[in-house]
Symmetry: C2
Subunit: 333 residues, 2 copies
């Protein structure tokens, strides 16, 4: 089915939101960005506000007929008030049907147009998914900072702070992470001076880190890559990679093959963790499964466009997929 | 120096507070209990209220002259408003000097009257101290739930929840902890049914645990002892013991000998963790140090009484210490 109408696709993330206006041919006509658009972290109204702002930019005043609105976002499996989404979008003159899809599918389809394969995402959180027949067949981790998200941004930042706290009072070995973290937090106390038995720098570290919301520890994750030659930092990276490989292996069947898509800053920036994950997988993965070179994607907006077409009967083959990625790349530059 | 006056000693903990009226001879005359009396967790006014309630019970209407008030509590190394303590105690007719001491010394002196040795405490938090010349010479860990407290109650509870979350989606092996935790949280969802790829019981586990304050995860710590024959539970206990042993070893010098005092429910209830810590120490401790059988203490009130006497020039020898423990035990029964 080919239509001359355009499709609005939205990738609503926790810290930023992207919208794209795409034709059935795969050609993208407009692109817009806004702040966090996820109802789990931003609340319903704030999330839809951000989605509408990005959409308005993507539409760019176009009055060409619109086929539908497709939103890829975390929490799609929760019972969302789809009717309320529709009302809010109607206020922008978008009277079309609103389809909510999982952010995991958005990430997967940002790297592949095929309907079976795997996605592993490690940003602030960590989650793996097996996609089968264009649906989520299995999901592992993604259980949040307190219960899991092993190997992702918060996990890394927390390991940095714990390693430094333990190095300061001699429970664990000295690490280059100490200099980096204390500088980051502007802690200047003497590291050998003890007051009532307690190391001064550690006392300040406690005061400063408990002044943050727990999830903010993720800002210290990049320090492990700055100190990559340090044994403690390297151990944190290796444990993160092992955890992420376990998360991916939990959704693999050993029978199915398919593309492997990596998303999230921990996997896509620098490449250290991605390479370590692939090394882990080579040790443990059943032959033939997930052995492919992973496709790294920066976000889920390509996948949102793919879903916007696929969910409305448009066949997305390699040619259409290629037009989405190349025309969107031109709009984003 | 012996005086016929009595000393008021208070052990102000995070969840309960104990006060004792003790003579220079070591004989205890009165004992009182109240709720959390620690200013760090309860705020200044709430903490002093609790301390005064326990004190009133301990004094029992006695109008015998009082020498001084000694409070052992966490946060003693912080800059506390000692003048305000004095004002509040004066309102109870207690015009005496108020001395603030560390809860670590309170625990240590609950197990020994000597002035050199070691204390390891694992309750909700975990901390080790070396005592030298009646002062804190070195303190390790005690860095709170986010930065450390490795092997203590929160740490154990968090490991339980993480192990179950990982077992539910196949990242880690099955464990008997799953039954126990899901029953504790009244989660009845099918453990094999997936909705949008996600295991239903895991989705409920996420919803219920994020509804708690993080520190409340410590309530799941006892489950590891219920499931002690389970390999996953045993691994958590062994890792807790290894972490606690490292914390203690961080304050040991290898040169000094002295009594070893264990406090906190994780070490004193059941004995599983205490035995595992001693096994770890036997592997790693320098010969001669901390090799003694640990003295287990249930709280810090005996030590508060010891400190009340020692800090005011009363010699606490084995006989005085014995009178404190035996007369206090009689009052507590």
């Amino acid at each position: 089915m080919v239509t001359m109408q355009n499709y609005l696709a939205i990738d609503a993330g926790g810290t930023s939101t992207r919208a794209v206006l795409v034709m059935a041919s795969g050609d993208c006509l407009g692109y817009g960005v806004s702040g966090g658009g996820n109802p789990v972290s931003r609340g319903f109204d704030g999330a839809v506000d951000a989605q509408l702002r990005a959409s308005a930019t993507a539409l760019g005043g176009s009055d060409a007929p619109l086929h539908s609105v497709t939103v890829a976002m975390a929490g799609a499996s929760l019972e969302l008030p789809v009717g309320l989404f529709r009302e809010r979008f109607a206020a922008l003159g978008l009277l079309q049907d609103v389809v909510i899809e999982s952010d995991l599918l958005g990430t997967f389809y940002s790297g592949s147009h095929q309907d079976d394969g795997y996605a592993l995402i490690a940003g602030t959180g960590a989650v793996a998914a097996r996609v089968a027949g264009s649906q989520l067949a299995a999901v592992a981790d993604g259980t949040g900072w307190l219960l899991g998200d092993n190997g992702a941004g918060f996990w890394l930042g927390r390991e940095v702070v714990r390693a430094v706290a333990a190095a300061l009072d001699g429970r664990e070995q000295a690490t280059a992470l100490t200099e980096l973290l204390l500088a980051e937090l502007a802690i200047t106390a003497d590291r050998s001076l003890r007051t009532q038995g307690r190391v001064g720098a550690q006392q300040q570290l406690i005061a400063k880190t408990y002044g943050l919301a727990p999830i903010e520890l993720s800002r210290f994750a990049p320090l492990v890559f700055e100190a990559v030659d340090d044994a403690v930092a390297r151990d944190i990276i290796d444990r993160a990679a092992a955890a992420l490989a376990r998360t991916l292996l939990a959704v693999t069947t050993g029978r199915e093959d398919g593309p492997l898509v990596f998303g999230g800053s921990v996997l896509t920036k620098g490449g250290t963790v991605a390479a370590a994950v692939m090394a882990e997988l080579a040790l443990h993965a059943p032959a033939g499964s997930t052995g492919a070179v992973p496709v790294l994607v920066r976000d889920g907006v390509v996948g949102a466009a793919v879903l916007a077409l696929k969910r409305h009967g448009v066949v997305v083959d390699a040619a259409v997929f290629g037009r989405i990625t190349s025309s969107l790349a031109a709009l984003r530059d």
